[in-house]
């Protein structure tokens, strides 16, 4: 088990992502953050906090993609997590999806489907804490905390203070 990001590095990565979001969107007037539960939701909150410190507050929500997954039939049913769309909605907005680990791309595909059900945003961008490669779909991230080359037998474990009591990213060797 190797630690690849510690608490300080996670904080700096998220702060840099916050700056990049402002730069890329020429401000924050039209930006809405949507975190993908569980850990993406906490990361979304943290990025929003940085955005508020740097420039101005943005609407933050969460988007559970469980019901849109394409592997539902391959696993036991899983509990649903909260979906909370900010009151301003997403119509015509610049949406930044936030997730912890970017892997096959299937979660993001499901998220895009879920967003399509809700409305038609102007753009959808993707911010991830860790990109570990091994994409199975033609999807890319706009903002990446850290690229971590992995083998497909390894797994990446993200721990966040809000739920795990500590901040770190580890690579766990496969079985």
């Amino acid at each position: 088990m190797a630690i690849v990001l510690d608490a300080g590095e996670i904080g700096r990565a998220l702060k840099r992502i916050a700056h990049e979001i402002i730069e890329h969107n020429h401000g924050l007037d039209n930006v809405v953050l949507l975190g993908i539960p569980t850990r993406g939701a906490f990361l979304g909150e943290r990025i929003a906090q940085f955005l508020k410190e740097i420039q101005s507050p943005v609407p933050v929500g969460t988007l559970d993609i469980t019901l849109h997954r394409d592997d539902l039939r391959m696993r036991p049913p899983r509990p649903l997590l909260p979906t909370l769309i900010p009151s301003g909605g997403i119509e015509g907005k610049d949406i930044v999806l936030v997730d912890d680990v970017f892997f096959s791309g299937r979660t993001i595909r499901a998220a895009l489907d879920a967003i399509g059900e809700i409305g038609r945003p102007a753009t959808v961008q993707l911010a991830v804490l860790v990109d570990r490669g091994h994409r199975q779909l033609p999807i890319r991230a706009d903002y990446v905390g850290k690229n971590i080359p992995t083998s497909s037998s390894e797994s990446v474990k993200v721990s966040l203070d809000e739920i795990d009591g500590k901040d770190c990213v580890e690579i766990v060797a496969g079985a």
């Binding site: 849109h68 539902l72 649903l80 997590l81 979906t83 879920a114 059900e117 809700i118």
Partner: protein, 317 residues
Amino acid sequence: MNKHLLSINDLSAEEAFEILNTASELAKISDGPMKKLPTLRGRTVVNLFFEDSTRTRISFESAAKRLSADVINFSAKGSSVSKGESLKDTAQTLQAMGADAVVIRHGASGAAQRLADSGWISASVINAGDGTHEHPTQALLDAYTIRSKFPQFNQSFDGLRVAIVGDILHSRVARSNVLLLTKLGASVTLVAPPTLIPVGVADWKVKVSYDLDSVLKEVDVLMMLRVQSERMANSFFPSEREYSRGYGLDITRLNSLSKNAIVMHPGPMNRGLEISAESADSHKSVVLDQVSNGVLVRMAVLYQLLGGATLTGEVSA
């Protein structure tokens, strides 16, 4: 969770709360941003109704459609059942058509169990009311409705006081509700004339009272049951008027309920018999909430049964 939902006994308290929590999340997304979810796309749900129903059939149909399942409605009237086709042949026809779930309502107690155990079909079987036995999704939607009105009972029904009033003997709703509410921790009192209390009630974890007025002040939830005249071959009470005087919810009784108490009824209501029109339409009545919550709870049940991995069911000849 089991493959089938035949009885409340198929569920643990945790699984029941899991269904209620799923329904709460579905409420947030399907009443708000996403009307239609792709979750059960390509799955087929058959509504197999041998008994008449308004609410339950529409509710299951609407739940399945909101999850993008294909729905086939089958009622005994207008089908080959009226030509004498057996349950077995009907079931095998559904199997051949590739049903993933069968929602069955039948006048005979145990019909859903028979269908599930028979080996005739590999689909999940959901009991939507079998004779005077059980109606588990009704109990789940009642529990959901209670929880939405009393947030303090979010995690457990400990301390919740429920009275179930009326035709307990013929009521599958009462049976399922007694099982579920006591499982979740509520204390339940059954109120009915002695003729409408089932034999063996001593084995249930409930109190029994023959006097409605004495329990009214001490309940949070008053659940009125329909007098099921169609199942009454004998006379169980002298006259409707006398029943109504002893066990009907009129405006005087409604006013003696505590301030936050709610009145439930599974429908269809016999207005003027077990419940007066003023009581049914009062602000304490949550009858229409029960109906709209029914769709959410049935979505949750369908998701739990069909949303996950396909179980390989053995089909015997």
